[in-house]
């Protein structure tokens, strides 16, 4: 037994709660579970009731986890002490679990919430001794984590001595992770909670697959296929390989490419989040059993308990963050004490520097933080209805209970009252919502009395939105997985697309299902899934700037990457300058396309989107101009037809932090973005009924798109707090306002280095090549719409009345 495991068992025996952090495969599960095993044995004779809950973020992990937790109990005359309950569990089995509760249950946050929605749910949970939360680092920065915190608050109210233990991989803010598990006031009093550190991460060895010559290596592009030959060689030299990509689109492309040149194409499989569970299982088992040599995967394989280690891990493109690299490298050979090897394949030249920064940060032992989500009123509304359904609640006591959860420790009376009004009378203005019917006060308790409302609510519990996902299924039957509605609606029947590594032809779309048949030709489009690309983490971006400073000063630690990239850096320096921590590089140049400004704040793609719109808006206020905007992880391109002359002083004005929020909202179509964002919120708060892939549309007469509801609320109840929440989420999560602010604050301290190179520099080139433009002009929305319509009219050649 390892030291940290003994320490965790001891703490558990003393009735403590806490967080155990250690890398994957280092005995974390046993460290947490050991104490529970002891307690289960001790209470065996007293018998009866559910005493342990193990929460896992992924349904797919639940079965493996269940097996792993049962193992230490098997020798102790307690076979099958741990049972499984997830959304996949059959109704019959779920009923059985209710009638004869097992001593321990493995479940998901959503399933736990669902259990609390049954009238006797509280009773069945009233003998709980402990709750364990696996992969807490995954949950803590999402609304699922918020939902879980609320459920924990409930469980604590039912069982005052409840122990809560989280398991986490290494992250930059373990304090926040620990705090998220405790009650808001527990943190500083008698039971402070323990942070137990397991074995430290294995050293990771990065092996960058460098191109022969950086001069002939592409400066832009994100597929990285020029490196295909080298990657396939590596795959063929090894018995088992995992190839990680950053997006599903990239995974499909690489899978197809590897298969097409491999000598044994049947030994290669594909694994991503949109592929049907059974096919994914086949891929995992095939790799473990030796039938497959290589699986191409996305973050769908970042988590997992029993997944057997592979000989080799290959990462296509930059991992964009240290935490992700560590997680992925951990998939290689789990022998304790050994080091984890990962082969990184840059997809373009600048990514070589990114990888060098990854290496540096690893040496320094730095990992990204995960920001917890706070005050998500949509989740609160959902939880309150859940509890109203499961036996009801008394408002004042519930207010106190909710405020014990860290996500709502700052919940104001007013926000509470609004949420309560929202579920009881529709909104604060009673007359605006006649005959609204959801949660009612019965004998002082808030309850759901209408069976249909209860049923609908249970169908929609959860915060993960299978957003407009359509099931992809062969006409003859087998399911292949899910694809986003947005993609399918652009296809006509008969058109081809690549999915799950196959070339398919769309036959028809019906009841949330896209029916397909095998296509004969390989020529087809690959769907792009939303939200696939992660922005470069702040930690890595700063790491790159630090590296640049070191290159320029000539004190860079010699690494294979730095040697490979040296010619490119020399070129950048000759033509312009290198970016750095102490200065902000701005380039101006003229090309056939027009007049370009390039700015390199290194704040990540998402923040750059907002920042670019902000700069364009502010410049266009100085002088009317329409810009084409392009961004990547390193910088921003503003392209205009005629040259805009800006001196350092102008740039200072444009980069000011004053009026940031207002200007951002003006510069982007924030209203429309909020409308888009509202989709998730409306669903979580129970305002839109979710369609379930393959199950047809629910309750037809209650169909209304979230966009429609957004418009109606905006028109008739503009102070609706969920609208406000949508706006806040757009700023905070979507545009990363925090990073924009940080970038501007840094710019205020930095020297502005304005250069006027004659042609595109190595830093500018990817932006130029990668142009995905969006128009921003000083014209107002209506004029823009009119212009758009005008173009369409011209194109259609039809006149209006």
């Amino acid at each position: 037994m390892l030291d940290f495991q003994r320490q965790a068992w001891q703490a558990y025996a003393e009735g403590q709660s806490g967080l155990i952090h250690a890398p994957t495969g280092s005995g974390k599960t046993l460290a947490a579970w050991g104490g529970a095993v002891n307690e289960l044995i001790a209470q065996d004779s007293s018998g009866g009731g559910l005493s342990m809950l193990w929460i896992t973020p992924l349904r797919a992990l639940a079965a493996d986890t269940c097996r792993a937790l049962n193992r230490p109990l098997e020798g102790l005359r307690m076979p099958d002490a741990v049972a499984l309950r997830t959304g996949d569990t059959s109704a019959y089995r779920r009923k059985k679990l209710l009638e004869q509760p097992p001593p321990a249950l493995v479940t998901t946050p959503e399933s736990l919430s669902l259990m609390l929605s049954y009238a006797d749910g509280s009773k069945r949970m009233s003998r709980l001794k402990a709750v364990f939360i696996d992969e807490w680092h995954e949950l803590m920065s999402s609304k699922r984590g918020v939902l879980l915190q609320l459920s924990l608050a409930r469980l604590r109210a039912l069982n005052p001595g409840l122990k809560v233990w989280g398991l986490s991989a290494t992250i930059g803010n373990l304090d926040d992770a620990l705090a998220g598990l405790l009650t808001a006031d527990e943190q500083d009093v008698d039971r402070p909670g323990l942070c137990i550190q397991g074995r430290i991460d294995r050293p990771i060895e990065i092996d960058t697959l460098l191109p022969d010559s950086v001069e002939r290596f592409p400066l832009a592009g994100r597929m990285g296929l020029p490196q295909l030959r080298a990657v396939v060689d590596r795959i063929e030299q090894s018995d088992s390989t995992l190839v990680f990509t950053n997006t599903r689109n990239q995974a499909e492309n690489w899978f197809g490419a590897i298969q097409s040149v491999s000598t044994e194409p049947e030994t290669i499989a594909l694994h991503h989040g949109s592929i049907d569970r059974e096919l994914r299982d086949l891929a995992e088992q095939g790799l473990a059993g030796g039938r497959l040599k290589c699986v191409v995967a996305t973050s769908s394989l970042d988590l997992g308990v029993d997944f057997s280690p592979v000989d080799q891990v290959i990462q296509i493109g930059s991992p964009k963050g240290i935490a992700r690299l560590i997680q992925r490298a951990g998939r290689a050979g789990h022998q304790p004490g050994g080091c984890a090897r990962i082969v990184c394949v840059p997809t373009h030249a600048l990514e070589i520097i990114e990888l060098a920064a990854v290496r540096n940060r690893l040496w320094q032992g730095k990992v990204e933080a995960r920001e917890p989500v706070r005050l998500a009123l949509d989740v609160l509304a959902q939880h309150l209805v859940t509890i109203a359904l499961g036996g009801g609640f008394e408002p004042d006591r519930m207010f106190d209970e909710v405020r014990t959860s860290p996500a709502f420790s700052d919940l104001s009376r007013q926000q509470w009252q609004w949420t309560l009004d929202f579920i009881t009378r529709g909104g604060p203005a009673l007359e605006a919502y006649p005959n609204f019917h959801k949660v009612e006060r019965v004998d002082g308790r808030m309850r759901v009395t209408d069976r249909r409302i209860g049923m609908l609510h249970r169908l929609n519990i959860g915060t993960i939105t299978a957003d407009g996902a359509l099931q992809v299924r062969f006409v003859k039957g087998a399911a292949l997985g899910q694809v986003e509605e947005r993609f399918i609606t652009r296809l006509r029947p008969g058109e081809r697309f690549i999915f799950a590594g196959r070339s398919l032809e769309l036959v028809r779309v019906r009841d949330m299902t896209a029916y397909v048949r095998k296509a004969s030709s390989k020529k087809a489009t690959v769907p792009s899934w939303a939200g696939g690309r992660m922005p470069l983490s702040t930690l890595l971006a700063d790491g790159m700037l630090a590296l640049f400073d070191e290159y320029v000063a000539g004190c860079a630690h010699p690494t294979p990457e730095s040697e490979s990239i040296a010619p490119l850096i020399a070129l950048q320096q000759r033509a312009s300058a290198m970016p750095g921590r102490g200065h902000l590089l701005i380039e101006q140049l003229q090309s056939r396309d027009g007049a370009h400004w390039f700015v390199y704040p290194f704040a990540g793609r998402l923040a750059h989107e907002g920042l670019a719109a902000l700069l364009a808006f502010r410049i266009s206020r100085l002088q009317p101009v329409t810009f084409s905007i392009t961004v990547n992880d390193y910088g921003i391109e503003l392209l205009s037809a005629k040259a805009i002359e800006l001196e350092a002083a102008d740039w200072r004005d444009v980069l000011t932090i004053d009026h940031l929020t207002d200007d951002i909202e003006h510069s982007l179509d924030a209203a429309n973005m909020a409308k888009y964002r509202f989709r998730d919120i409306a669903r979580v708060a129970g305002m839109v009924q979710q369609g379930f892939p393959g199950r047809g549309k629910p309750v037809r007469h209650l169909q209304a798109s979230s966009g429609l509801i957004f418009d109606v609320l905006k028109q008739h109840d503009p102070d609706h707090l969920l609208l406000e929440q949508a706006r806040r989420e757009v700023l905070e999560s979507q545009l990363e306002l925090g990073r924009i602010r940080a970038a501007l604050e840094r710019a205020a301290e930095q020297r502005l280095m304005i250069r006027r190179p004659e042609r595109l520099t190595p830093l500018a080139f990817p932006l130029w090549a990668d142009r995905l433009r969006s128009q921003l002009s000083s014209e107002d929305w209506q004029t823009r719409v009119d212009r758009m319509l005008g173009q369409l009219e011209t194109a259609a050649g039809v006149s209006s009345r």
Partner: protein
């Protein structure tokens, strides 16, 4: 926008309606009155300003045209009124303001169990379809069918999707194929269905005060 269907002169209105000048007839489809109330009853808090808004829109339409008759091509209501609902009385008050106006309803799939209220609202129910000057007026046609009778219908809530660069727009639309016209839904609190253009329909989008052919 003017349109001739089977030699009948019609005018498509940006108020999501059709004006038949020769008969002084206004035609709308899919008003879905009371939809907000159905949502509230099922625990979805939609504010009731929605109903007022629909009636205001009808007022505006009637004010602009000296109509003798209003023809509703189905789905006048979203669901039959339930006990305690206030909206049918609000509609009744609205109706009383137009004593001279004839209102006729072609029954839609949502207009069930309404007979009592139709009487009170003085709305004449004229069955599932009827012919007028050679045009067939009906609630729904099979939009995928190759040949359709000359006429007008509703039901599908046609919408057009416009795109230019990063800007996207979805507008209610009339859909026209051969001699058949599908009206956009009149109700503001209704969704739209796009994709009719892929089945050979020409979409005429309602863009503010104009009607624009988009496909």
């Amino acid at each position: 926008m003017k349109l001739r269907l089977h030699s009948v002169e019609l005018q498509l209105l940006p108020e999501r309606a059709v004006w038949w000048p020769a008969r002084k007839l206004l035609i709308v489809a899919d008003v879905h009155l009371g939809k907000d109330q159905v949502f509230r009853r099922h625990g979805v808090s939609i504010p009731d300003g929605v109903l007022r808004h629909e009636l205001d829109a009808l007022d505006a339409l009637l004010a602009n045209h000296a109509a003798e008759k209003l023809l509703v091509l189905g789905d006048w209501v979203h669901a039959p009124p339930a006990d305690g609902d206030a909206w049918p009385d609000i509609v009744l008050d609205w109706r009383k303001r137009y004593a001279q106006l004839h209102i006729e309803l072609v029954l839609g799939n949502h207009d069930r169990a309404l007979s009592g209220w139709l009487q009170r609202w003085k709305i004449a129910c004229i069955g599932a379809s009827f012919m007028l000057d050679g045009l067939m007026l009906v609630h729904a046609v099979d939009a995928e069918k190759e040949t359709l009778p000359a006429g007008l219908s509703g039901h599908w809530h046609p919408a057009a999707r416009l795109r230019s660069g990063r800007e996207k727009l979805r507008l209610p639309a009339f859909a026209l194929r051969d001699q058949h016209l599908i009206l956009p839904s009149f109700g503001r609190f209704t969704g739209g269905m796009d994709g009719l253009d892929r089945q050979g329909w020409q979409l005429l989008a309602v863009a503010g005060q104009r009607i624009v052919a988009v496909s």
